[in-house]
Symmetry: C2
Subunit: 197 residues, 2 copies
């Protein structure tokens, strides 16, 4: 096997990259000037070296605590709970949210051997003991695992004086009723909101 | 910008990788153990260092001349002319071809500033002068540029006693007549072959 075959094989491990895409990417790297491959290699190497988990919220960061946790302009009474670090990035990109985050590290999924012990629920409870939290927004995925995790969260905080909310589920903006699946449509009916002008 | 943002931005340069895929890949690399990112970084770095163009055929190789050019079992009277090094790989993967290759480095495309001078036609003529070639199979893409290049090749070798052929163009195996475009169907009609049982 040549260096090229080795690279193609490693690239196929990446999410969404099949044999053909891997080969296309490898040939592209070969065709580009040397500086490109050097930069890419260095950045892949460095990203793993420089980035760690924030000790407070679990988000990926270069400094600890992360930029969001240490930002004095953030609303500290509001915590948005997500499954993965990339979800923080996604929610941040909307520009709609000014509270803090908490990354669980996944969702409860007995089939995959992920129980509450594997996730950072304890850390979240600790945070709510240390700082006055008024609301927890549950932003787990609208899947069986995400919903289970959401229910578990509600149960943990049932005795506390914290408002628990969940991201609205429904038909996407710009979507078409005709193409919405039954479950989504049912949820968006149940979760209908009063019309305000 | 963090290391993560830098990596995501570089990844979007790769073919077929948009903003979302790049971000997914970057988070995957972060999540994986350190060895994976180290291996990937090293392989990207090495591929550009180890692989060069074969001085005979222009294919990517680690040793010069390449494995195909130096293979004594290959039919040296047969040269398959392709646009890019990856086309060699694609044709090799069929296991149908036992001749040599010649990589042009692209196709004639005046709009992109690629004329015959930018491609390795001279080298191909030299090869046919040095070794007795019986047939040249033109395997450029069935596009305007590829067809132009094919015509140019035929004209170059018009005075020589070399059989010139072109890859058959037509409906793909497993395809459906209904979904074939007119041009492809027209070509497959013109290029129809006698039925042999």
């Amino acid at each position: 096997m040549t260096s090229l075959d080795h690279l193609i094989r490693t690239l196929t491990n990446l999410p969404g990259i099949g044999r053909k895409s891997a080969s296309r990417i490898a040939y592209y790297i070969l065709k580009k000037e040397k500086r490109f491959s050097e930069t890419l290699a260095e950045q892949i190497f460095k990203v793993k070296q420089n980035i760690r988990s924030c000790s407070v919220c679990g988000n990926y960061t270069e400094c600890d605590p992360c930029d969001i946790c240490s930002d004095p302009g953030r609303d500290r009474t509001l915590i948005c709970v997500v499954e993965h670090p990339q979800d923080v990035h996604t929610i941040e990109s909307t520009g709609e949210y000014r509270g803090l985050f908490h990354v669980l590290g996944g969702a409860i999924s007995p089939i995959d051997g992920v129980g509450p012990k594997e996730l950072t629920f304890d850390k979240l409870v600790n945070r709510t003991n240390k700082q006055p939290v008024k609301e927890i927004i549950i932003a787990t995925n609208p899947t069986v695992e995400g919903d289970t995790t959401a229910l578990y969260l509600v149960r943990i905080f049932t005795d506390k004086d914290i408002r628990m909310s969940r991201l609205a589920s429904g038909i996407p903006v710009g979507g078409d009723l005709e193409y919405a699946d039954k479950l989504t449509l049912a949820r968006s009916l149940r979760g209908r909101i009063p019309f305000s002008s």
